[in-house]
Structures are given as C-alpha cells and as structure tokens.
Symmetry: C2
Subunit: 118 residues, 2 copies
DNA sequence: TAAACATTTGAACAATTGTTCAAATATGAA
DNA sequence: TTCATATTTGAACAATTGTTCAAATGTTTA
C-alpha cells in the first residue's frame, strides 16, 4: 500500500495497536480466507447443500445440481483441498460427504442470516 | 452444461430427485453464495476479525490491517452490500461493526475448523 | 483381455476480482 | 467562505476464477 494511514483525530492510537495485536498471524488469515472462500460460489453451495442431506457420488451431484460431471469434479477437488468435504471410494464410484459439523454449521447459520433479511 | 448426467448404476434415481427437491430456489442459492463469498478474502477477513473486537472507522482499519485507505473503503462497501457489516457516521468518521451474531458465529466456527487441523 | 462406467485432469477461455491512483464528496473547524 | 480531515468513487490493470472440451485414469464386468 502506498497511502499512509493517518487518521489524526483524538480517538486514534488508543486502541489501534491493541486490536492489531489481536489479529492472527498472516498464514492463519490466509487459511481462514481460503476455507471460507470455498463456500462462496453458487455451484459449490448447491453441492454442499446436497451433501448436507446425504453422502453422494460425483455423478449424482451432477444430476442434482445440473452441472456437468467435469464441473462437479473440479469443484469437489477444490472442496476436498480446502477441507470442506471428505470422500470414500466404493467400486467405480466415489462418495462425498461434508467434512465435519463446522461445515454444516456454517451453512446453517448463513441460511439463517439470508432467511431473516428482506 | 453439455454432458448428460448418466450414472447408470443401481443406486441412482432412488434419492436424486428427493435431494434435488430439498435445494432452495436459485435466487436463494445465489444470495447464500454471495454472502459467504464476502468472507473469502484475506483483506476482508482481517477487517472482519478487527471489527469482531470493536467498532472501528475506515482510517483505523487501514492502520490495523496495513491496507490502503481506499482498499479498505472498497472492501467495506462490499461488506456493507452483502450485509456483513453495518455502520454509523459520527462527524467526519464512519464507524463500522459486524452486522449481527451470525457473522461473528461464522468467523468463530471457521477459526475452530482451521485451528483443529494440522 | 476388451468394453462400459465413473471420475479425474489439463489447457483454454471468458468473466470476475482486488488493488492502485486520482478525483470527488462529506463533515467540522477556523 | 476556506481549509484540513475522512471517506467514497470510478477507471484501469494484473491476477484469479469457473466452465467447457478432450483426453486420461480407475474400477468392474463380460
């Protein structure tokens, strides 16, 4: 950044350092952002909501979401890498499910937040 | 999408329609994705975590996060539009805070999820 | 083995994103 | 009014993203 943060008024400086020192280190910030970013796409939300009902294979997810098999696979890889889903192979199929209760909780709370407004 | 979802094995068709009918309508999916996408950036995570400690103005947020005043303002506009933060003007300053407990809860749960692994 | 089914992968592409910079707007004090 | 401070805005740009398509990889059955 190029602009120097000035903010000359009296209140500044009293709590800025205190809040700044509360922030996690940069690598944790990045992990957090990447984890939450994985929720931030309509295709992935559809996949995650479907998986919140039951374990599903790539092919089923394609039928349910209306996305191509390839698109679903690409998104599942991302969701796997970011630890939102886990999987198990059963013969030709690979069954996916939500990684843990945190993922479910975030979906539920976000639904609540959306539902309340408008 | 161009590829027809086939998935010819026996298990298919039993629950696909059932799960599909559980999914919210498209506009709600989009709202959900846009809300959660707003969490998915390191700069915005820093801003949100800072705001989880206390109400802060644009200028303070710039000092705390190390981002330019302009970059913070652009991100705050997005966070406002997506209903993650609210604000009040006090003289020359505009103080921002988290919109509600849902936003706080999502940050907390995501921190837990990140904290548990590795 | 070959064939069918299911999934994954990589390249390409358009679309979206986050930052910077400069300029504009808003507020309070002199 | 003019000045200083604080915030917002819009254009530009590089960087990232999500999808498609074609090809490759796994797995089971014949």
């Amino acid at each position: 950044m190029k602009q120097v943060p000035t903010c000359k008024s009296v209140t500044v400086g009293e709590y800025v350092d205190e809040v700044a020192s509360c922030l996690p280190p940069d690598d944790k910030i990045v992990d957090l952002a990447e984890f939450l970013q994985a929720f931030g796409d309509s295709s992935r939300i559809k996949i995650l909501l479907a998986l919140s009902k039951r374990e599903l294979c790539n092919c089923d997810l394609s039928a349910i979401t209306g996305l191509s098999v390839s698109a679903v696979s690409h998104q599942l890889r991302l969701l796997r890498d970011k630890k939102l889903v886990k999987y198990r192979r059963d013969g030709k199929k690979v069954f996916y499910s939500l990684d843990d209760e945190h993922v479910e909780a975030i979906l539920r709370i976000a639904m609540e937040h959306i539902g309340e407004r408008k």
